[in-house]
Symmetry: C4
Subunit: 266 residues, 4 copies
């Protein structure tokens, strides 16, 4: 049996990430998690058209930053892949992206309410991350981000934030690694859910700026991410899903991707 | 083993559709999905009395448009099958119908609140689809649509829309194919859930007319429906349910029904 | 293998009923469904102390109407069994009782809001069924109905209704058979859930008195109860639960209990 | 096979407790249940860094009351273990502690709303248990309780209550045994959920002081805790989790821990 190399491991982690984001309620039949090629910053990996729970290593496609497949294929593709390509162009520090329409966020997106971190783990989203309304620049559309200029506009709205809220559509979250991006997506969804339910009974309190900055470092300074990834991977393993070597190797893989990313960030 | 013909495949798809609509929270112990006979526009298929999750090909009954069984049988039947027969009479373009009482819609139906598309996938329901109140024309009833004139009245209220809301009762959704109808039912339920939760915290924004028209074409112009059906069928296959050849053949079947419908529409 | 007799079947149905009420969200670790002895109106069956999902035929105890065990035993018992005994005394037409603390009802019980039928299947609970507050007659208690006089007081509040709401505690539902009682419990919970969610976004509409009376007969006039019981029993059978011969015999058993009850009612 | 001793049983019960609290929605990927060493009041057991559902006997670490491991090890640890150590110091009667961030409580913690017992089983939390805001004494932090003085401050806020609410963070619950602590955690979460949903539709009623005192004794005076633990353990056993000998021995173990605690309390 050949020794798996770093790229194989990263691709397995990405397939697993799509399943985890699905299993934890961030993705449903739609939405996707991508990753920048760990060895080539000008390419990224994203599944061909597939429900997130059915993403496998075999379904991953390598794209250039114009979101064109590096190798021709006959599979159907996600129409919104420019979200990924344009953000990877604009943000060299970003190593993974999750685009989703999680129910937890919908009340915010439908009413135009700002996201506010209401508990320590919600600090991953920042205080009042930016909104983007496709209508502002492009008028009436089918609300899918399919043209390069639409993706570029979204990337501009994202700026240096870790997520951007898309009116009447969804959310796009970025991270410094695949696990980091998935963790941010899951915890910001939980925060959004808590925020919305809290607004139904009273006036909500926000973390202060200082608390948000400090609590935003929990992921890096505690064992929370490793612990979470081990658990999430074990949940997927229970379902018998084929992608990724969930469970035992999760910890190592998380570290692996962390070191890969450490090298890439300057 | 004989080669399955198009009718067999369509019937398997219909049994699967009932299970999917159940699994995705549209149907519970009540409600039903029917399909127009792919080879005879004057007949339709609907299960005999059965919880949706227990519908099998064997339980399907062929009805004429007066909702009388084509072949006599001794099974108990749904009392509300005139919903299906009368709509098939009034709308030659309709190939499948789902009648449901999904929890997601109940707050709208109980308060008489209009359905509003609040995110792109909710465009499948249109802007403010019509309401029908059985009491208006028929006074006090048990609120089941059991008489032909009640079904005909409901069909008139539906008009050329893709769904009609029934006060203090439920919803009836139509589609150009079985997967299209199930997809509309599921996505409109999700939109209703998002709309209701959004109303609890603020003022909701609607898709514009232009956005609704364009986003309403997502099903036809993207890979979303195929992707969804593959996923939904795989979920049913996991439960060990006998109906339909879920999973591998799902894509082909979806295409098959699409071409069947294409031929039928003029 | 001996032929199972009617009493054996009824006891199996009762064990299954507890599991169904649990599986459908009416009961959790607490609450219980009892049945009047089909051959002796002065006795009833109730599980010994047991979470509803763990009730088996072997755990059922035969009680007299003073809620004393007919045969001495050493098992721990439910402290609230007088709810059952006192209602069976006061209501000879009642053949089964469910006492529960379903989450769906809690917002009503905590705020003292009347139950209102907001969709056809919610008619099983009637319009504004009575409230009972243990504090009114008995002052400060642990809010458990443990004394015969407390049970008798609750039975007086129930009167000829099909359910009584207990402030800051729960609900007690009666029925003409075990399946009828379980069906009323489940559908009234669903109605309560819809009512509560509807109240969060607007003014709710009630079924009219005429609609409530007519829709209250749906259970007897349609195939809904048989269809539901078949489905619920199949769900329990999937979990591998030992009690009751779920599934295939469910329909026959439902009929059996119906005829038993028909004989008993005069 | 060696006869399991009391400590082995207690440790198995603790591992099981973490899984139960997870399965019942109190814990997710974060939070933890600890227990005072049954034979040494100056030590306590807590898992090394682990998602609650993955806690096993092997992962348990023995700590002194300064939250330092009794035996050196190389595993990662929870950063918030001072919550446990400082409360065990301040409260000799406390035998088990659960720290959680349950969704049910979040609307209270985010809006600063008092917890109010709204049904009999919610009496386990008392009337308006104290709040603690880390910001008051420590200014901007990452909102994790990691320093001994932070843990001691939290313990002072807890006082003689059975739980303390932590603004924008979570809840810490104490008990006289592991099952008692888990039971209180679960039932107070249910109460919080009911309270929040009730507040969305009207004015809530509280149990009176007398009712709260009396209903707070339900755990000790009825079979509710034994019944619940048997059920919860059986649920975990179904999932195939390795920790604890769930099910058959649960009752005995519960008694065992009760007698252990009885001895320890003076």
């Amino acid at each position: 049996m050949p020794v798996p190399n770093a790229l194989d491991e990263a691709r397995q982690e990405l397939a697993l990430a799509n399943k985890i984001a699905h299993h934890e309620g961030v993705l449903d039949t739609f939405g996707h998690v991508s990753m920048r090629h760990p060895g080539n910053p000008n390419h990224y990996f994203l599944s061909r058209s597939s429900a997130p729970d059915m993403v496998t290593v075999e379904r991953l496609v390598e794209y250039d930053l114009d979101s064109q497949p590096v190798r021709p294929h006959n599979y159907t593709q996600f129409s919104e892949r420019v979200i990924h390509g344009e953000i990877y162009k604009a943000r060299p520090d970003v190593m993974a992206i999750c685009h989703h329409h999680a129910p937890a966020f919908m009340p915010l997106l439908v009413t135009g309410t700002d996201y506010v971190p209401v508990f320590h783990l919600g600090a991953v989203g920042g205080i009042k991350p930016p909104y983007w309304d496709q209508r502002d620049e492009f008028g009436d559309t089918m609300l899918l981000v399919v043209k390069p200029e639409e993706g570029a506009s979204l990337a501009r709205a994202l700026g240096q934030h870790s997520m951007v809220l898309m009116r009447r559509h969804g959310v796009t979250v970025v991270g410094s690694s695949v696990p980091d991006c998935v963790y941010r997506s899951i915890q910001s969804c939980r925060n959004a859910e808590f925020q919305v339910r809290s607004m139904m009974i009273g006036k909500i309190a926000s973390l202060s700026e200082g608390e948000t900055k400090l609590a935003g470092q929990i992921t890096g300074k505690t064992t929370g991410l490793t612990r979470s990834w081990e658990y999430w991977a074990a949940q997927i393993a229970k379902t018998g899903a084929p992608a990724g070597r969930a469970g035992k190797t999760a910890k190592r893989k998380t570290k692996a991707s962390a070191s890969r990313n450490a090298k890439r960030r300057r």
